[in-house]
Point group: C2
Chain length 155, copies 2
Amino acid sequence: MNTEERIKKQKQLIETMGQHYEKEGMQPVAGRTLALLMVMDKEEFTFDEIVEELQISKSSASVALKLLQVKNIVEYKTHPGDRKRYFRIKRQEPFLLIDDFKQKLTRDKQILEEIIELKADPNSENSQFMKNLISIMEFFLDHFEKLKEEFLKKD
Amino acid sequence: MNTEERIKKQKQLIETMGQHYEKEGMQPVAGRTLALLMVMDKEEFTFDEIVEELQISKSSASVALKLLQVKNIVEYKTHPGDRKRYFRIKRQEPFLLIDDFKQKLTRDKQILEEIIELKADPNSENSQFMKNLISIMEFFLDHFEKLKEEFLKKD
DNA sequence: TATTTAGTTCGGAACAAAGTAAACTAAAAA
DNA sequence: TTTTTAGTTTACTTTGTTCCGAACTAAATA
């Protein structure tokens, strides 16, 4: 695959990833901005480069970049004697995806527990079904930390 | 806690859960409908009962229930000689939440792999960071089935 | 056959979200 | 001090979502 072809595929991938992030609730421009920073070979983009690459207005870029920074996904560096900001993806805690799922499980479990607490009959079919779900959630929550340790030991 | 108080708390919980499902991308009425079927003591609601409980129009109820059925979260039974549909939450595969996360991990991993494939330098900082993420994803994907088996053996 | 019941579908109003252009700000350069 | 640079904020437009009422359909009952 030659360079031109690769770059074309990278730009297609940015569009695909943008749609992927949209499905996860991210704003279209924010999703494409994040994808740009992940996909392209260049690892640092200035504000104007992002505006130029994605063909968006400065205001959209400003809003999207602010959002990505608040979400802790993107950061910028500055270089002395250069007023431009160099944006790049933030190298996050690598277990972040797992920890996010743990948090979701924890929250969902809390809700189920609150439902059970308010049931007139804690042995109704729905109650029993939910109790089973809760026990699965607890089991996985308990074992995630062990899996993390195992992963780190493995090499 | 007396019955009246309990029912009041159940209705509050429906609102809270509705907002929770909205954040996950569900339509407001659909989220509240699902919450109603999960929270209340009654385990089967007719169309009219749902309209009445949630104070919504028949059209909203119709759209929300169709969505929940397409998503495979809610189902209905009918009783012979009774044209009404009795809606209830579907007792799904209890590992569904885990399997959904597995699917998300799988999809996210695919995207990262595609990014790496298109990189000019597969050892750039971003590439290395993403490769580490991929190896974590693979590790967890591999171990989820074992955890499921362990959970089932446990009792 | 006419009416009632149990929902579905259509059309539109109200509101929210996402993007733009243009005005603005704050810091650096001339 | 004035101008330029690098973005931010504001006001507005476009687009999309969500809901409702009213008209409709299909099956059962009278």
